[in-house]
């Protein structure tokens, strides 16, 4: 098991290094002079030179990358152009809303998605199956920003039940997390259905039925339990994408999270913050996928021994 774990962790390190290099190159890929872009078109030559010096753009590329990596490990990612604070100080307070939203979206989407998939599989080919799958495919197809706006229109403007934005109370999490989780719910619903349908054709499920077990027990104790490993894996893999998917929900609901910060920073050409956020989102995506991968190996001996 230790060997499997080490192998997986070691295999992720080169990818993380490449990602760090790609994100580091982000500023260099901007067409034109990034220092001029940041200083503004009206800035004097001296101002541009100051910005260039601040960004370390006068150093050779490898030295710049070395300094960047050193900064990564010491928490020095530069300063935000917008507010003058360090990048870490700018990003840190924005993490909590995004993480809270991601967790709340994940919880409801997992529960409803799995339930939808089980119901569709059990009632395969009947009306409930079709209804379940219509809901699922609609969840994949609906633009999340539109869903968010319609939820505001219905529950905040028309009914006045829930706040239109911000994160002041637990009620204010409801609409954004519904917006964020719709797609995940749909993916999990479809995946649970197809996995359950496969599992329900297995011999042990047939045996359980032949023994005269109640259908509920057959479905939950035999079919669902054996499908659970794969369902949990897919659910885990969604978390990584969900965190960066907060961009749309945070924009619609004016939530001061990481996604909103990314959009604002791009509009303000606050490239140091954009660079840090891109690295954060990509790294958390890889790390979460790695954790899920390792956990999959832990709970599924077939993978571990292969």
């Amino acid at each position: 098991m230790g060997k499997y774990f080490c192998k997986r962790v070691v295999s992720a390190i080169p990818l993380l290094l490449v990602i760090s290099f790609v994100v580091f190159m982000f500023i260099h890929m901007i067409p034109g002079d990034p220092a001029r872009m940041i200083a503004g078109q009206d800035a004097t030559k001296e101002d541009v030179e100051v910005v260039r010096e601040q960004l370390g753009l006068n150093d050779p590329l490898l030295v710049q990358y070395g300094n960047y990596m050193k900064g990564l490990f010491t928490g020095d990612l530069g300063d935000s152009v917008k507010n003058g604070k360090t990048v870490v100080e700018t990003i840190a307070p924005r993490m909590k809303p995004t993480i809270m939203l991601t967790i709340s979206a994940m919880i409801w989407a997992t529960i409803i998605g799995i339930a939808l998939g089980i119901i569709s599989a059990v009632f395969h080919g009947r009306s409930l199956d079709y209804i379940g799958m219509i809901i699922a495919i609609s969840g994949i197809s609906v633009p999340s920003f539109w869903l968010g706006l319609e939820l505001i229109q219905g529950f905040s403007v028309a009914l006045n039940w829930l706040p239109t934005g911000g994160l002041d109370s637990w009620q204010s999490y409801i609409l954004p997390s519904l917006t964020m989780g719709a797609g995940i719910m749909a993916v999990l619903g479809r995946f649970t259905r197809s996995t359950m349908l496969e599992t329900m054709r297995e011999d042990y499920v047939r045996t359980a039925r032949a023994k005269g077990l109640k259908e509920t027990l057959v479905v939950m104790r035999h079919a669902f339990k054996n499908s659970l490993i794969e369902i949990i894996t897919v659910a885990g893999l969604q978390i990584g994408g969900l965190l960066s998917g907060s961009v749309m929900a945070e924009t619609v609901f004016s939530i001061p999270g990481l996604g909103r910060l990314l959009v604002d920073s791009i509009n303000f050409r606050d490239y140091k913050v954009v660079q840090a956020l891109l690295l954060f989102f990509a790294a958390e995506y890889i790390v979460i996928n790695l954790i899920v991968d390792v956990l999959y190996g832990v709970i599924n001996p077939k993978i571990r021994y292969n």
Partner: protein, 300 residues
Amino acid sequence: MAQTNTNLDQNKFAAAEELPKAQSKVKEFTKKFMKRKTAVVSLIFILFIILMAIIAPFVVPYAPDQPDYTALLQGPSAAHIWGTDEFGQDVFSRLMVGSRLSLSCALIATVIGTAGGVVLGLIAGFYGGFVDSLIMRCCDVLFAFPDILLAIAVVAIIGPGMVNVMIAVAVFTVPSFARIIRSATISVKQSLYVEVARSLGCKNSRILFVHVFPGTIQSMIVNFTMRIGTAILAASSLSFLGFGANVTEPDWGAMLSLGRNYLNTAPHMVLFPGILIFLTVLAFNLLGDGLRDTLDPKMN
């Protein structure tokens, strides 16, 4: 000379035999596809939207950029079936004309992304070894950025605008195609007919594009159809965030973005563009599902 004539005759016979075979395959596919009603309805809807994209500027009741200051933010009525926006422009006309911009953006982006992904996937799967590792590791790097994040990152680098949105969407389309086509290529290249082509002395490039590529088309078509839906969503999301089309342009995402400022007074400005995006993406996804089920021998 006589030998050459015999060969020509044989080729003609072979070609004559192939034609009915291909025709019967198409017939069989059509028959199976027509049984999938949701896919057929989706296809009809998509054809309607494509038709609209072509003819809308000539048939819509109002010019999309024609303001009417006597009819600002009006709800749906007989004169304006989907209401008007803050300049009194007809929402229905703008959406129908906008289908040209939104659809072409998604289509072009998907075609570029597909072309890039297919070539990379074919090369990786066919040559294997170092080339395969290099291409797949590059794809892994792109996969490390979730779709919308990658698109935002690309737009952050090259700047906002509709053309840049197309490039951004194309970039995130590449790795998924490369991976799918690579695995299809690996399975096709082990086929007997590829072995025969190789033993007959065919060049690698000929084997790759004439013999292997057609074998991967099935996976490509299904993924292509579904990816158009994703591209529409991504492009409209970027426009909504202000990175895509200008808000004055009749683009679905941009219209939605503008509409959110009038959510209290003119909810139709958000409702109709959203429904149109939703139905179009839904239609592409359902069509993709239908094509996959029709082409998958296990499902038949």
